[in-house]
Symmetry: C2
Subunit: 323 residues, 2 copies
DNA sequence: CTGAAAGCGCTTACAG
DNA sequence: CTGAAAGCGCTTACAG
């Protein structure tokens, strides 16, 4: 906004400033061997100073195989959830910044990814997911988002986030705190559930789980489930730790329809901090843009055959009106 | 799948086959002047034969301004709806086929689009939407999806689709058919509502509208609304024409919870034919991939300053178990 | 009307 | 470790 878009500096400009050849700059930038550490450092610094952005076009032209990154969406239309849309959004931006081009693949189209893309980002992984093996057999470098595992991966601190939310409710004096989750046996839920259990253990309280069957509409399903529960026992809980903001919204609506005040009689927390959806909701914020950027960074490492690693992205408790 | 990906023919290959220079091929392909009609025809024929695909990378490299297309999402987190995700998916693929690169812009980030992209696709337009004016003032060619209007646009046959669904219920012998919509006063709803009214008029029945307030979770909101209505008057309707599959899902659940059989006592239709969500649901199918492809085609026309046009994409009634 | 050549920004053998 | 040069596919002055 403030600064001129300016003809973004290219490799030649960096070479000029560093007083070296463009070949050296290219090597430094791409982490290729055959260059001294000192020179690499100097070049990297300069490229940062001039806010160098590689030209996707040029890279693609050379590689023939365009710098196309296939973004493989999750099974069971998990991908049709708000959280993922935000992720897509940031992923397209983060990839473009690095001169890469995104193409989306519905889960059942992922078999065609290797022939159209040179790298992949896997979303919504599940148990026995065939995609990692597929990528390996086609030698497609990939990063997965959401779960730690073999190879490169990025995930928010699920466990810690739920731990923070639960402990927050304990500190607020809540004693009957239930955990509301969607398919609690899934590996993904396991982490969040773990954080809940830990906080309750520390407080010496009993855990109580509300396991919503996997569903396309968590808010509606959560609403119905909680409504039935409250009909039988209106005072069952004074705190609800929800696995997602959507689930929290469903619970909030059910509480309202049953005349229970929030946070007076029941406190509620969510997870994700989605725009609009999390308005007024105490929740755990994920840095979705950060996750996207980190994924792309790791993808670069994967393409450079560096040793795999998992990165855990920090989360943050955001206290609003529901607790 | 069947044919080898094969190194796609390039401009040089076409020149070789035609026995001319690559400059002539380029001119022919791009409709540039300075080439005889006869030669142009010959070259065009050959390029068709070899299924020539221009290299986006090379073109971008030259134009400097990359073929970056900003996809601007709608207001109020409309974009967080399943339908749009499918659209994004097909849009990324369609753009890539034409050598263009997608970047997503959240609605409130659209102001930054002109400096980052050379063209735009606008989704989820609303009344007094400032985006078209913004694009014009920055001379960014654009296409909008979802509503006819000035300039280029693509939309499914909303009106006709709902007309088909409503007439279908009439033919099935339904007499008390209500229309369930989300924010019925919006321009988008107007079209669908029009199709409903037309079919009822033809049958000589009374229209009845169920207007769900605009909401982040249509399924839940529709569920609650219908539940209350059914508590007062269980036999109020024998047919429900829903504006979207999501709304239909909410209604179906409400009917189930009230012990009403579908389609025995009440028939239900949706709109969109979303995967999983529309399973077993009688609905109106949109050709989302077709809409995406057409948008990209029109974008090409917009960039070439051709006269603006609106394209209406056909829809199709899909009869399943709920009617 | 047609062609030979330069050049877009980058990577990568090939020399040194 | 470092550099000069070729080349990815295309467009566009510049000559003819």
């Amino acid at each position: 906004m403030s600064r001129q878009p300016s003809k973004t500096a290219n490799i030649r400009e960096i070479a000029r400033r560093a007083g070296v050849s463009i070949a050296s700059v290219s090597r430094a930038l791409n982490g290729k061997p055959g260059i001294s550490e000192a020179l690499r450092e100097r070049i990297l610094t300069i490229s940062r100073d001039v806010e160098y952005r590689p030209s996707a076009a040029a890279r693609q032209l050379i590689s023939g195989k365009a710098a196309v990154v296939g973004i493989s969406l999750g099974r069971r239309d998990f991908e049709l959830r708000p959280y993922y849309i935000l992720l897509y959004q940031h992923l397209t931006v983060a990839l473009h910044r690095q001169g890469m081009v995104p193409i989306f693949f519905a889960h059942d189209r992922t078999a065609t990814l290797p022939e159209q893309a040179g790298a992949a980002i896997l979303l919504g992984e599940f148990a026995d997911d065939p995609r990692p093996a597929l990528m390996r057999s086609h030698r497609v470098p990939f990063v997965r988002i959401g779960l730690a595992g073999e190879g490169f991966s990025v995930a928010p601190e699920d466990r810690h986030g739920i731990y923070l939310a639960t402990r927050h409710l304990v500190e607020k004096g809540r004693r009957h705190i239930a955990f509301v989750g969607d398919e609690l046996t899934s590996p993904h839920s396991q982490h969040r559930l773990g954080g809940y259990r830990q906080a309750l253990d520390e407080a010496g309280f009993e855990a109580e789980l509300i396991d919503i069957p996997p569903n396309l509409d968590p808010a509606l399903t959560g609403y119905r489930w909680l409504s039935r529960r409250l009909e039988r026992e209106p005072r069952a809980y004074d705190g609800l730790v929800c696995e997602t903001d959507e689930l929290a919204r469903g619970c909030l609506t059910a509480l309202e329809d049953h005349g229970l005040s929030v946070p007076g009689e029941v406190a509620v927390t969510g997870f994700d901090d989605l725009p609009t959806l999390a308005e007024g909701l105490t929740t755990v914020r994920q840095d979705i843009a950060g996750i996207a950027a980190m994924s792309v960074e790791l993808l670069g490492e994967a393409q450079a055959s560096k040793p795999p690693r998992h990165v855990s992205m920090p989360v943050e408790l955001v206290v609003r009106e529901t607790s």
